[in-house]
Amino acid sequence: MVDEDIKLIGKDGIRRDGRKFDELRPITIEAGVLKRADGSAYLEWGENKVLAAVYGPREMHPRHAQNPSRAVVQARYNMAAFSVPDRKRPGPDRRSVEISKIMSEALEEIIFVEQFPRSSVDVFVEVLEASAGTRCAALTAASVALADAGIPMSDMISSCAAGKIDGQIVLDLGKKEDNFGEADVPLGMVTSSGKITLLQMDGNLTLDEYKKVMELAMNACREIYQIQREALKKRYSTSLEGYEDIEDTEEE
């Protein structure tokens, strides 16, 4: 991954896109953006644009895949053909199959699956524009969509990556940094408990570097959690407004 000619961090310690080592790209989240889905969220994270929709709990099809004692969580991560510089062929590839699997597992941890035997909770994430860090963006958006759908959950999951570029530990690698950096560690965290529900790593890190990476990523997850909460609060107040409107109408 190392390319000697490319400098990702300036002498002033500032990254190519102007960020400091521990700075996130701008993140905005909007909950409840789709009408048909039971819950949804739209998230922009730097140049990443991600839409998440939740259906369920609903009767699982096909029946033979039902679990008689709990709900099955099925996440589907999908990239739009136009979401990357070189057009992607539509349909699942090995990368998206893997990400769908680890997202499903991560989300299952926080959902009260025992309450919904024989059901499925389906989470669909569409990556409309991709620019490094889409699995963290997807998992973060999916958590908000699940909450928007009113799925009983023990907590939220927030997700962010940290890694190493030019020998330095930095938070939330951008596209160039991901391509030419030395290590990337996507983390998914159950925010209140600090427990790890998604963790991958590739590249090259000493144990000390790993510790620094995790510190950065875990702090960032807490920061992202606040953005998730704000999105839900805003959605909740909007819903209430809508509710009041209806009451007004009824009073007339």
């Binding site: 789709l34 009408k35 048909r36 259906y55 057009r87 539509p90 669909f124 569409e126 409309l128 524009e129």
Partner: protein, 259 residues
Amino acid sequence: MKELISRITKDYLFRLIKEGKRLDGRDLLEHRKLDINTGWIGTAEGSARVHLGDTDVIVGVKMSIGEPFPDTPDKGVMITSAELIPMASPKYEAGPPREDATELARVVDRGIREGHVIDTTKLCVTKGEKVWLVFLDMHILDFDGNLFDACGIAAMAALMNSEVPAETFDLGDNYKLPIGHVVIPTTFYKIKDQIMLDARLEEEMIADARLTVGTNEKGELVSMQKGLSGVFEYEDTISCIEKSREIGDKIRALLKDKV
């Protein structure tokens, strides 16, 4: 699909329609609110998101260099595909019906291709060897009926918004994708002998027949597709074409503003 709607809703809809009324208070030949946003996706050569009421679609255009077809060695090539992703509807749970997506993609494709929307003669790099490939990908995000119009309009808008990425391929400066004609599709639904425009999902589910009419800025007819098992009278098709030209002009004006 007709079975997925309750008998009561069905009867209510039939009653309304007989009186020339609709669920959302629209007139039979009135479109829903149309929102067009272009240039949304940075990784695409062009893109458009279209809301037609609660129907929400996004179309992205990608371009690259490839080989022309042997019988049109000096023309660019367009490849269209539609994904009815399960996000868009609870009915797509077990995967959306493949033939619906295929028909949708092909009808949008024909409108653009046969309407000469893209001036493909300006997309030749080396005759017989290298031409521009234009990939048009449609994603349905929220499905409340009438995908034909939503996708057709979004495709038109995305193409008008597109830039040929010549620089990426060391072929000089980028330039606007050459547009020959502006084609707008309009879809009519026949329910109990009434003809209505732009059906919502519940209306689409009880429709007997469907007719999509595409016209260009000269008022010429460039594409038609009849669907569903019901029938149209010949006279119906004439009035649909006339109405389509009228609506097409309005949407073309709106597009001019937006793109």
